[in-house]
């Protein structure tokens, strides 16, 4: 059963995995968010300092760039934003001991959510902070807010509602006034609201208009007035902190690590109590300066996260557990005495060391491998150093640098290696796909290719090792494994390309064979709009991809074929359009999108119409499938057993599982029934999944064929007549049953609206198969008509004829299946964002989180649609393909090509999204739009590769064995086989 070609598909999968691995390691910065809390006793001198202030006013002005408050703005200064918000500069000039302005460096990514995390936890948030709340946005790490809360302080909050999603419970409810910040068109409502309750945002002005705009000036003027009022009202025990969470570039955007984006302003002010000692004798090496682009002098600069330990100690709180910042010397240094500062720094350094130790012990501890030795020696130095202020400062700074290297910097080398691997693997796959369509003696050729991939992988591994050792000291953060994997992948890819790509002239005619939908789809990832409107792009491309079939339908020589093609392609188009109605909108699509997958945008109950139709649809789907099988008379054998009984009951009970779930969660029958409902639906879910896996799969394995053999009683002196019903589709029909088994599994894990979508998609798929089959007939007939002697054509051996009809598998036949797969993904209530993962599906088999069942169900729910429709791709090659001559060499060739074709499609999408997210890694939207689409593309490619392996090796492999058992001994079969052998 380990059939020919399986080895090559597995090689393709392995190379894809290597490419994804390399690219992801370079691009997707991840960090483990530790949930430990610094809960030391505040009375312990090693925990914190005695509080200098009782209260604090913490004002964040979104995107307040340093030059907006700088006393020395760059030249030429802008009338719109320089010296407008002038209070900080005025006060600093007048009262240098109570006011200080810093030039703060916010760590990239300079996106709002990441900066909120940074400012409150003192850590370096990455796009994907792994932890117990993967996907949620609330901060479970220790933070300043949390420490304040634990210390029993009251926290009032007003402003951007992002903070509410991050700290849902920490703010005092009667003093909390969140405002929706998403609508960047709306310049005033958040600010008005904040000013009404206290204060502001510049952010939206920047996003919409850029900084050079009169509105900016008006806004800053407004802020300045508000600040003046605030300062008026400040009491003696209160510290005023004003900061920008990040800067903005010249267009007013932020998100990346550009110099202007990482230039934020920071101002500390204490009304009466001295904040800094102007006479303090602080060694120069503790004070860093940075020059703002265009400014005449350098200004005192700090890391933005330095604020976290400094404020903690000033307020007498423990420093948050995850903090990597270092206390700001001026705030603790008095006169020549450094004791207070040394105390603060010691507390700070001990906390950083505690954090690093904890991270080292965590599952992600190996990330620190490369830096650990130096961290240890820096710590040793800090403990034993003669000048503690110096050595401990060095330790905390070194720790920050090391972590920044790990968590905040793209590794361009790995990104490049990953892209190269993916590109060369797709070239190799294409070369083999193309050659398989041309080489008649393809079996020995493919064997050669397969053994070549093995040999060259070995050679690549060795050379990777050889190259790795001399290169290691020069290239940062590329592990030995990366070299080896890259070497193996690239060497074998190039060997395959060289072997499979013969010198062939590129003809002008080949331009028309460029798959336009694929090209457009791949290019669309360069634009954020098309990426987040992808669910609308796909039906458009899908309809485009079916248009050539419709045109061929009009040219069909017989009315029957014409009607069939036109009817089934219309049915396909209608199904696709209906699927496209269903959507859960993603944030960026507002206000042009209405949620139809659920009955509303905030509730997760299915729409009423779906509730009404889902059971009939689930029950009726198997009979609809049967109608399709009837066309080729292959509703026999196994199909006759499974389709009338097993599949309707399984699908219906799957629908009931979700209907009961809806009843339970919306308490239709009252809360008392929930226990019984839970039990019933768990049982039903187990029953349907069990039936599929045990009964259906076993039956399929034992008797896969959907044929019926009728033997007529021989009349006297006549030979016995054997009729095989369902012969014409003997390869396709058992594969459809095999496909239905996986389909039912996904169906069970899909919510009600998604189940209707899956049913529609099945009808679309089968219609498309009929279209493809008829179009092939049209092509064959036209070929026969155009040949000079039709009789000659008919007289050709059966083998040649089947070659003509199936080897002509075209990429344009694979494209609709690939697009349909993604369309179903979007239609079943998913989007390329983490927040649309349907966690509910984790609990259909158990009422609590169970490993590995729950994650498996979520994966089935999310990637199942793509997996199942990729699994359907061998149907294009096998549908209505007779099993003779045996072995079905041409059908196998076409199946293999169909599998490689869909894998190519998804590799191309992955390449498109990977290149765009690497290219646009400084883009404002990279973490909201491009990176999630890349992650989806990577997961989809893995799902497709697995589907293709399962379909080709298990599905097609088992069917060809079974077909061989029935037809292998038939007259004619052996002749053909023998003929092939003798060739």
């Amino acid at each position: 059963m380990w059939s020919r070609g399986a080895q090559f598909i597995c090689w393709v999968f392995a190379v894809h995995l290597i490419g994804i691995w390399l690219f992801t390691r370079g691009f997707l910065l991840t960090r483990l968010a530790l949930s430990e809390v610094n809960s030391c006793d505040v009375s312990d001198p090693n925990c914190t300092l005695s509080p200098s202030y009782k209260r604090m006013v913490f004002l964040i002005i979104d995107a307040l760039r340093f030059d907006f408050i700088s006393p020395d703005p760059p030249l030429p200064s802008s009338p719109y934003y320089h010296n407008v918000l002038s209070l900080p500069a005025e006060l600093t000039k007048a009262q240098p001991d109570r006011s200080i302005i810093y030039y703060a460096f916010p760590d990239p990514p300079t996106t709002t959510l990441q900066r909120i995390k940074g400012i409150t936890t003192g850590s370096l948030p990455t796009f994907v902070d792994m932890g117990s709340n993967f996907g949620g946005s609330s901060i479970l790490e220790d933070s300043l807010i949390r420490q304040l809360y634990e210390a029993g302080k009251q926290i009032a909050f007003m402003g951007d509602d992002t903070w509410m999603s991050v700290f849902p419970t920490s703010f005092a409810p009667n003093m909390t006034f969140p405002y929706d910040s998403f609508n960047v068109e709306d310049l005033h409502s958040v600010d008005e609201g904040v000013i009404r309750h206290l204060l502001p945002l510049l952010h939206h002005v920047g996003h919409r208009l850029g900084p050079d705009h009169p509105t900016m000036q008006a806004k800053l003027q407004q802020m300045d007035n508000v600040l003046r009022e605030t300062v008026e009202l400040l009491d003696d025990d209160t510290l005023l902190v004003l900061l920008g969470d990040h800067g903005m570039d010249r267009k007013g955007d932020h998100g990346g690590d550009g110099e202007l984006e990482t230039s934020a302003g920071l101002w500390l002010y204490s009304k009466t109590r001295p904040l800094v000692d102007p006479q303090a004798d602080i060694p120069a090496h503790l004070l860093t300066n940075r020059t703002y682009p265009g400014a005449s002098t350098a200004h005192r600069s700090v890391q933005q996260i330095d604020l976290v330990p400094s404020l903690s100690l000033l307020l007498g709180l423990p420093i948050p557990f995850n903090n990597l910042g270092t206390v700001i010397p001026e705030l603790f240094w008095t006169g020549k005495q450094a004791t207070s500062f040394e105390h603060a720094l010691r507390t700070n350094a001990a906390q950083v060391k505690r954090y690093l130790d904890a991270y080292r012990l965590s599952p992600a501890g190996s990330e620190l491998d490369s830096a650990w030795k130096d961290i240890q020696s820096a710590w040793q130095g800090a403990m034993e150093g003669q000048v503690p202020a110096l050595t401990m400062n060095m330790f905390t700074r070194y720790a920050l640098e090391a972590c920044r290297m790990l968590w905040a910097q793209f590794n361009i080398t790995l990104i490049g290696l990953g892209l190269t691997t993916l590109l060369s693997s797709s070239l190799a796959t294409f070369a083999v796909y193309d050659s398989l369509g041309r080489i008649v003696q393809w079996e020995p050729w493919l064997d050669r290719i397969a053994s070549m991939t093995l040999r060259w992988s070995g050679i690549g591994t060795v050379s990777g090792l050889v190259v790795a050792f001399p290169l290691r000291p020069y290239v940062k953060d590329v592990a030995i494994f990366d070299y080896v994997a890259f070497g193996a992948a690239i060497a074998s890819s190039f060997a395959v390309i060289k072997q499979a790509l013969p010198a062939r002239r590129l003809e002008i005619g080949s331009i028309s064979s460029i798959p336009l939908p694929l090209v457009l789809h791949t290019l669309s990832f360069m634009s954020n709009s098309y990426t987040f409107w992808e669910d609308h792009v796909i039906p458009y491309l899908l309809l485009t991809s079916i248009a050539p079939f419709v045109l061929t339908g009009f040219t069909a020589p017989t009315p029957r074929l014409r009607t069939r093609i036109l009817f089934f392609s219309s049915l396909f188009a209608v199904c696709v359009r209906l699927i496209a109605i269903s959507t859960v909108c993603r944030e960026e699509q507002q206000p042009y999108c209405h949620v139809t997958f659920f009955s509303g945008s905030t509730i997760t109950t299915p729409p009423g119409l779906i509730l009404a139709i889902v059971v009939p649809i689930a029950f009726g789907l198997p009979s609809a499938i049967r109608q399709y099988l009837k066309i080729s008379k292959s509703d026999q054998g196994l199909a006759n057993i499974l389709l009338p009984t097993i599949f309707p009951s399984v699908l219906t009970s799957s629908s009931f599982v979700w209907i009961l779930e809806w009843m339970e969660s919306s308490e239709v029958l009252g809360p008392s029934c929930s226990g019984a409902l839970r039990l019933t639906r768990t049982t039903l879910a187990w029953l349907s999944i069990g039936t599929i896996l045990v009964v259906a799969l076993t039956l399929w394995w034992l008797i896969p064929l959907c044929i019926k053999v009728e033997t007529s009683e021989p009349a006297a002196n006549e030979r016995r007549e054997v009729t095989i019903i369902g012969f014409a589709n003997a390869l396709g029909s058992p594969y459809l049953i095999f496909w239905l088994i996986f389909f039912s599994l996904v169906f069970t894990t899909t919510q009600l609206a998604g189940q209707v979508i899956l049913a529609l998609a099945t009808v679309a798929l089968l219609s498309f198969l009929e279209v493809v089959d008829s179009v092939r007939d049209v092509r064959a007939l036209n070929l026969a008509f155009s040949s000079s002697k039709p009789s000659e054509f008919l007289a050709q051996s059966q083998e040649t004829r089947s070659t003509l009809s199936t080897v002509g598998l075209r990429f344009s036949e694979v494209t609709p299946i690939a697009l349909l797969a993604l369309q179903v993904f979007f239609g079943t209530g998913h989007q390329a964002v983490i927040s649309t993962i349907q966690w509910k599906s984790a609990f259909i088999l158990t009422s609590s989180l169970t490993y590995p069942l729950s994650p498996l169900l979520v994966i089935l729910n999310s990637l199942g649609p793509v997996f199942v429709f990729a699994l359907a791709v061998p149907l294009i090659a096998t549908w209505n393909t007779p099993p003779l001559p045996y072995p079905p060499s041409t059908a196998q060739n076409a199946t293999l090509r169909a599998c490689l074709g869909i894998s190519l499609y998804f590799t191309s999408l992955l390449l498109g999204s990977a290149i765009s997210s690497a290219w646009l890694r400084r883009h404002l939207m990279v973490w909201k739009v491009f990176a999630p689409r890349f992650m989806l593309a990577a997961l989809c490619l893995v799902a497709v590769d697995v589907a293709v392996i399962v379909g080709y090796v298990i599905g097609f492999g088992r069917i060809s064995v079974a077909v061989g058992r029935v037809f292998g001994s038939m007259p004619g079969a052996n002749d053909a086989a023998k003929a092939r052998k003798s060739q």
Partner: protein, 322 residues
């Protein structure tokens, strides 16, 4: 020749147009080829495409349409922004005007095409003075003309039916299902007017009948619109603008997805303007291809003549020199 056709003419080399002039001056007695009124064709295409462009860009802004405009936008004409503003402020009105304008233009264009097709079929050759043949042609033309109103009615019907079909196809491609239906219909109507009307008026509406005429008609339609292989200049003049319209409409849907929030991204302005531009490009392309083919055929014929009649040497060399 109207000045609008000048750009088209200048695209061809001076040598070619000189030759063409020569061709039209020469008595074309012995050339039994399809009737091809190159000069007239060029000027009609020039005028027609210019008028179509005018319809799309100016008609929705004329004083006529301002009768129906909202009062808010009145009295602001003249500023450059207004061009876009008046075109985009009410897409439905813009579309309606484009449809109305192209309806009139297509009737004119289609009747011209029909005459051409008739002449081509009757085998009109300029300067033919065979009287019996003349009479035959006259009879044919009479018969043809008498069926004009019926054909016009059928063509209108075909345009209306296909406009519904196109609207459905547009909805299938992703146009909104439960809103903007009238806009979608007008887009479908525009595409039908630009692509189907002239074909239906010139070639006749295909039917499912089994008599020879309807079979031929049906096969012609299939050959043109499914196999995309025209054979005569008239067919090219019908088919290429139709392809241009559909492709332009398809391409026009693409910019809607961008998040630029511009008024011209309103449904269905971009596909409509895409269709109109596609139509214009297709018309000019048909003109170019027809012209080049015609010149090529003339060249071929001349070569043949030169080969058959070697005695006409001096004329031949003279021609070569031009």
């Amino acid at each position: 020749m109207s000045p609008t056709t000048q750009p088209q003419r200048s695209r061809k080399s001076q040598k070619q147009s000189g030759k063409e002039r020569e061709e039209s001056e020469r008595p074309a007695v012995q050339l039994p080829t399809a009737f091809f009124p190159f000069a007239r064709y060029t000027s009609v295409v020039g005028v027609h495409t210019s008028l179509i462009a005018f319809t799309a860009l100016f008609l929705p802004r004329t004083s006529l349409s301002s009768l129906f405009r909202s009062s808010a936008a009145n009295g602001q004409l003249g500023k450059p922004d207004d061009v876009l503003l008046t075109l985009t402020e009410n897409p439905l009105r813009t579309l309606a005007w484009i449809c109305a304008g192209s309806c009139v233009l297509q009737v004119w264009w289609a009747s011209w095409l029909r005459n051409w097709a008739l002449d081509a079929r009757a085998g009109v050759t300029e300067g033919a003075d065979d009287t019996t043949r003349r009479t035959e042609q006259k009879l044919l033309r009479e018969e043809w003309n008498s069926g004009r109103f019926a054909a016009f009615r059928m063509a209108c019907l075909a345009a209306v039916v296909t406009s519904v079909v196109f609207s459905i196809v547009i909805i299938l491609y992703g146009a909104p299902l439960n809103s903007h239906l009238l806009r979608t219909y007008l887009l479908g109507l525009l595409v039908a007017l630009l692509s189907v009307f002239s074909a239906a008026y010139t070639l006749g509406v295909p039917s499912l009948g089994s008599d020879t005429e309807s079979l031929v008609r049906r096969l012609t339609w299939i050959r043109l619109f499914a196999e995309l292989s025209p054979r005569t200049p008239v067919e090219r003049a019908i088919l290429y603008p139709a392809i241009g319209t559909v492709l332009g409409c398809w391409v026009g849907a693409i910019p809607i997805g961008l998040d630029w929030e511009r008024p011209w991204q309103a449904w269905p302005l971009t596909p409509a303007y895409g269709a109109v531009s596609g139509y214009i490009v297709g018309s000019l392309w048909a003109l170019a291809i027809n012209g080049v083919r015609q010149l090529y055929e003339i060249q071929l014929r001349e070569n043949r003549e030169a080969a058959s009649a070697k005695r006409s040497e001096p004329q031949h060399t003279k021609k070569k020199g031009t």
